[in-house]
């Protein structure tokens, strides 16, 4: 099947990020997500290439088929046509720690070159300048999902050499560290930002530029990155959304709650 791509002026960066996220979900995957862009990405995946993906929310909604956009992971909207509504011990304990979750989606306030994540404090632990939401189920998902995908904005102060607080484990300090710590999951597979996609070098476990979004240069990515990013010789442009994906995306979030319409 030939796939027609939309032109760069036909979509926004947030729409592209949602499409990138959705492509990380395989048909039949058990997917653990929060609200925001991951929610849109998972809903899109179910409407396109992964109709048998099961979306699980840590508050207890399982295999959700929500019709309206949820603001909270405990939002009653997620209960509409879900297969079950249980609780945290079920989702984070039996399902996730029990080894049934294929991929988790998380956000981050800071990420380092091994994919470790901070969602707790900015500033020192003793005298923080900002208190962020904390782990929530993030640490659990990142620890125990078979793989996880990070979706975040690309800024120098977020892509840092050293985290202010290590809330959730990427590859910790390199090869073998997750295994040594006793972690079950395999770690981060992809980081999607508003500038690019980054994966991880299989030997060093360090973060590596994978693709740049249309109109973005490698130089621009480097200027907005605070850690040493591995840049391979040939960096491709991110695969563009199809017109079909864009139409579906806009129908999923017609009010523009997570993806504002105007470009």
């Amino acid at each position: 099947m030939t796939k027609r791509c939309a032109k760069p002026e036909e979509f926004t960066t947030l729409e592209l990020m949602a499409v990138c996220g959705s492509r990380q979900i395989k048909n039949g995957d058990v997917v653990f997500i929060g609200t925001g862009l991951p929610l849109i990405a998972a809903m899109l995946a179910k409407k396109t290439h992964a109709p048998r993906a099961k979306i699980v929310y840590e508050a207890g909604f399982i295999d959700s088929n929500a019709k309206d956009i949820a603001l909270s992971i405990a939002d009653s909207r997620l209960g509409y046509r879900a297969s079950a509504a249980i609780g945290l011990i079920e989702t984070l304990g039996l399902m996730l720690q029990g080894g049934h979750v294929d991929v988790g989606f998380v956000g981050a306030a800071q990420i380092d070159e091994y994919g470790n994540i901070n969602t707790t404090y900015i500033g020192s632990f003793e005298h923080p300048t900002v208190r962020l939401p904390g782990s929530g189920g993030g640490n659990d998902i990142i620890s125990s999902a078979k793989r996880f995908v990070v979706i975040m904005m690309h800024e120098k102060r977020k892509m840092v050499k050293k985290l202010d607080y290590l809330t959730s484990p990427g590859f910790l300090d390199g090869p073998g560290a997750r295994e040594k710590a006793g972690l079950m999951g395999n770690g981060p597979s992809l980081v999607v930002t508003n500038l690019c996609q980054m994966d991880f070098d299989p030997d060093t476990k360090r973060i590596r530029l994978a693709t740049v979004h249309p109109g973005v240069s490698v130089q621009q990515v480097l200027e907005n990155t605070g850690f040493d990013l591995i840049v391979p010789k040939n960096v491709q442009t991110t695969e563009l959304p199809t017109p079909e994906e864009l139409t579906l995306l806009r129908a999923i979030d017609p009010g523009g709650i997570y993806i504002p319409r105007a470009k």
């Binding site: 603001l71 009653s76 945290l88 984070l92 304990g93 290590l166």
Partner: protein, 303 residues
């Protein structure tokens, strides 16, 4: 004289809050926007309670109110924010002032700590928190979590201490006067949290006839054996939501968020909606019946 066959555990919201001494440890029910004991939080503020320690997985505007009013000074939790809007404003300020302290765990760790308390064992093992600052850094507990090698397999596991709080506070859709609780939609960590408390106070949207509960016993998630007191409290989670009962009032939540960015704004909100009213009913009257009716769940949707 023959004893009544059904025990009556009903008390008022004011009476329930009076039972909580300053310095108490509370399991705080609800998860995110779903079923927070908002009316209980308001009454704790009205009765000027102090130095409470709150145990919860993820809570939002409800615990921000407890922080703003200086009711709670310590929290052991995994998450707080006002989802879809931003960081909780009062807690930010109180942390900077040094008025509150937070011990951070993950959601699974907190849920297991409640399950451990409910099971009567001193700790629970899990596979989260490994390799992170959740393990390495602690705020006020002398021991927060320990890594051990499993005596059977040698694999590394984290042990977290069980929690047996003085009170568990849960807001539910339905309860009978004996204390049999039915919860629609997700249960979050309330099933375990309710069983962990030494005393359990259940607030409910409606108190139903015990015969109704007994006609569908499979729907009961907290049997009366665990429950000490029952409080009838319609719209008790407003402006957050109760599955099958009502939706959230985002306009009110946004107003709260915007106003609480400053201390003066928070004080004004507190005076207008919490300390300036006598009770929960007066608060609801202030919001207005018409506004509430618009939030009623519309079938087939649970919101």
């Amino acid at each position: 004289m023959v004893e009544a066959s059904v025990e009556d555990k009903r008390i008022t919201l004011k009476e329930a809050v009076k039972l909580v001494p300053d310095g108490s440890h509370l399991f705080w029910g609800g998860f995110g926007f779903q079923r927070p004991p908002m009316a209980f939080a308001h009454e704790l503020v009205r009765q000027n309670k102090r130095n409470l320690t709150i145990y919860t997985c993820g809570s939002e505007m409800d615990i921000d109110i407890l922080s703003g009013a200086r009711v709670a000074s310590r929290y052991e939790l995994a998450f707080y924010a006002i989802e879809g809007i931003g960081l909780v404003p009062n807690i930010q300020r109180r942390i900077r002032e040094g008025a509150i302290e937070i011990e951070d765990y993950s959601n699974l760790a907190m849920a297991l700590r409640f399950l451990g308390g409910a099971l009567g064992v001193p700790f629970m093992p899990l596979k989260s928190m490994l390799g992170t600052d959740l393990l390495a850094k602690k705020r006020f507990r002398s021991k927060k979590a320990e890594v051990i090698e499993c005596p059977f397999t040698g694999e590394k596991v984290v042990l977290v201490p069980s929690v047996r709080p003085d009170f568990s506070i849960v807001h539910a859709p339905r309860v009978d006067r004996e204390g049999n609780v039915q919860i629609d939609g997700i249960k979050g960590e309330d099933v375990e949290g309710a069983r962990a408390g030494k005393k359990v106070i259940v607030l409910a949207e409606e108190i139903v006839d015990t015969e109704f509960i007994r006609s569908q016993p499979d729907q009961t998630v907290i049997p009366n054996i665990y429950v000490t007191h029952v409080v009838e409290c319609p719209w008790g989670s407003y402006p957050m939501m109760v599955y099958n009962y009502y939706d959230y009032d985002m306009e009110h939540v946004r107003m709260y968020y915007d106003q609480c960015k400053t201390e003066e704004g928070w004080q004004k909100y507190c005076e207008e909606y919490i300390t300036g009213v006598n009770d929960h009913v007066e608060f609801l009257q202030k919001i207005g019946i018409e506004r509430l009716m618009k939030l009623r769940a519309k079938k087939p949707f649970p919101y």
